[in-house]
Assembly symmetry: C2
Homo-oligomer: 334 residues x 2
């Protein structure tokens, strides 16, 4: 049973039974393109709009994850899902036809870690026999919602990141099998004072530093304790800031640090500027690549730290800044 008061949660009965990722064309053209479960034909696939295509991504990701575990919708106890679309409609529209108890969450691009953390807590606490964490993002729906309609043809700044067209789903159960969810640290909101909608990495780096530092302290660990520290989508700008923040403490994380935003695309050939972003970025890299490597024992202990920019165009237009958050989930092979 869970042991701690506040701070970092411990899990004794939370394993990831199955997982799946569905991505768009650009993501499939990246270095990990061969590892995803399905690739959309184009940005809309069989849907009529980008928003509906994003909902379809989530629906497909959950379907693949359930299929691998031979679970039907009526076997599922709980979905924990969210996304970037206004009012989380990628999740509510994409998952409504499964008719599974549904808890909506919002953590911007940190959503997959928040979902794993909560799905793990509900399974480990004995509330449910299984729970799926699901999330998505879509380049075209996100750009027009948060910045400009694509038709506007705005020039992207060097700090801008490319919202991944991707979804991931993972099903957590109490049965003992790798990958195991062992611990999790809930993020505190950090406001770095960033007001540029095209500089998410800087807005999130402080939150990543805070959560990872607290996780180290509570667990008595340090960078060398992990095979990898995987951040969600800091991109190049945010990753550099994170490295600097740790260096101030005399700690180097560079050797162990990987950022999903710097992995999903081939930045030499693909025009993604500072890297990938979006809930689907870390969700697809985890469900397409990393969870497999943990399951087979290639990676023994990983700290997955998805970062989110809790931004609102309305607030930014009013002069507000962009608060960041980061949730950390420790996942192990044993």
């Amino acid at each position: 049973m869970p042991v701690c008061r506040g701070k970092t949660f411990k899990y004794e009965k939370a394993s990831i039974l199955s997982y799946a990722a569905v991505v768009g064309k650009a993501e499939s053209d990246g270095p990990y393109g061969g590892e995803f479960d399905e690739v959309l034909e184009d940005n809309k696939d069989s849907a009529e709009t980008w928003e509906q295509a994003e909902a379809l991504l989530q629906s497909k990701a959950l379907k693949h994850a359930m299929g691998k575990a031979e679970l039907k919708p009526e076997d599922m106890d709980l979905l924990v899902a969210g996304d970037l679309l206004n009012q989380c409609t990628g999740s509510s529209y994409g998952l409504k036809d499964y008719y599974i108890p549904f808890l909506g969450i919002y953590g911007a691009c940190s959503t997959f870690a928040e979902g794993l953390l909560l799905a793990g807590a509900m399974v480990n606490g004995g509330y449910v026999g299984n729970a799926a964490a699901v999330t998505s993002s879509h380049f075209s729906s996100a750009e027009r919602q948060f910045r400009f309609p694509l038709n506007y043809g705005g020039v992207r700044t060097p700090t801008a990141q490319w919202t991944a067209t991707a979804a991931g789903a993972a099903i957590v159960v109490p049965e003992s099998k790798p990958p195991y969810i062992r611990a999790a640290t809930v993020g505190k909101i950090q406001d770095m004072g960033i007001t540029d909608l095209n500089n998410m990495g800087a807005a999130m780096a402080g939150a990543a530093y805070d959560t990872i530092s607290r996780h180290f302290t509570h667990m008595g660990t340090h960078p060398e304790s992990y095979d990898l520290i995987i951040t969600g989508d800091l991109g190049q700008v945010g990753s550099d800031i994170l490295s600097d923040l740790f260096r101030r403490d005399g700690v180097s994380i560079d050797k162990y640090h990987k950022d999903c935003g710097l992995m999903l695309y081939d930045r030499e050939k693909q025009d993604v500027h500072a890297g990938g972003s979006g809930c689907g970025c870390s969700a697809s890299m985890m469900c397409g690549h990393f969870l497999k490597r943990i399951e087979c024992g290639d990676l023994k202990r990983v700290l997955f730290c998805a970062t989110g920019a809790l931004m609102s165009p309305t607030m930014v237009q009013q002069g507000g800044s962009i608060p960041g958050i980061c949730h950390a989930v420790e996942i192990t092979a044993k």
Copy 2:
């Protein structure tokens, strides 16, 4: 410890230690105006915009709830919060300066029940020593986000509801004291095919019926088992549909049913059409009125069922319908 596999969660160690509600002028002019902890001077109070005023509402509600329990931010383990504003910024901007671990949730107007359910689960499961559920809504920020800018002066339809300018916060702890959170049923998304942004009640009624029916079945209860069955904000249209749906099963809930949307305002004197709505509607009625009545034993057993319309103007403009959800939390005096 929690016992069930999926379905309805049971809680043995989850009490509501303190709670508070902050409302706007119209809400303070309603029948329960004297019961709230603070009333804003006007729709903006000391903020510069309606969105910032909504964030202020949440900040104030949490401050009052912590104050009553003599808790400081550094004593708090977890916040579970969300709201209607695009990207839940009422919560992230309103609560960021407390620097408390934060889980963002999105359940539209069902958010307060989802927050109580999760805060209770994390406390009862031993993950945290306390957890606060916080939510808000604001008439002026919601209207311009979901429908029309207020300056447009659109005529409201008879089915329209009035989004409450209100926030509520409740702090859950494992110590034994009333009100107790005893059980909770997570909602399934229900799509009634409603496409009218001004008919939330009809969109949510099916979800309320589904969740309440499942809660009765899992708990072996019926309407007479409760002093009150309190829905969030079905309003007149949704309440009538809910009554009809139960009547088809030969069940009458009318004698036990109260709807926060029909209570918050004086519908004879205040021009709120089908009733109140918004996350703050049920949150303020619970934290201002009902939790007091449960705490003092005036109400022994209550089923609180907050309803949410998982709507998106974008999806509705594309011809989509408005899915509904309802989460139920059973709260008792003993």
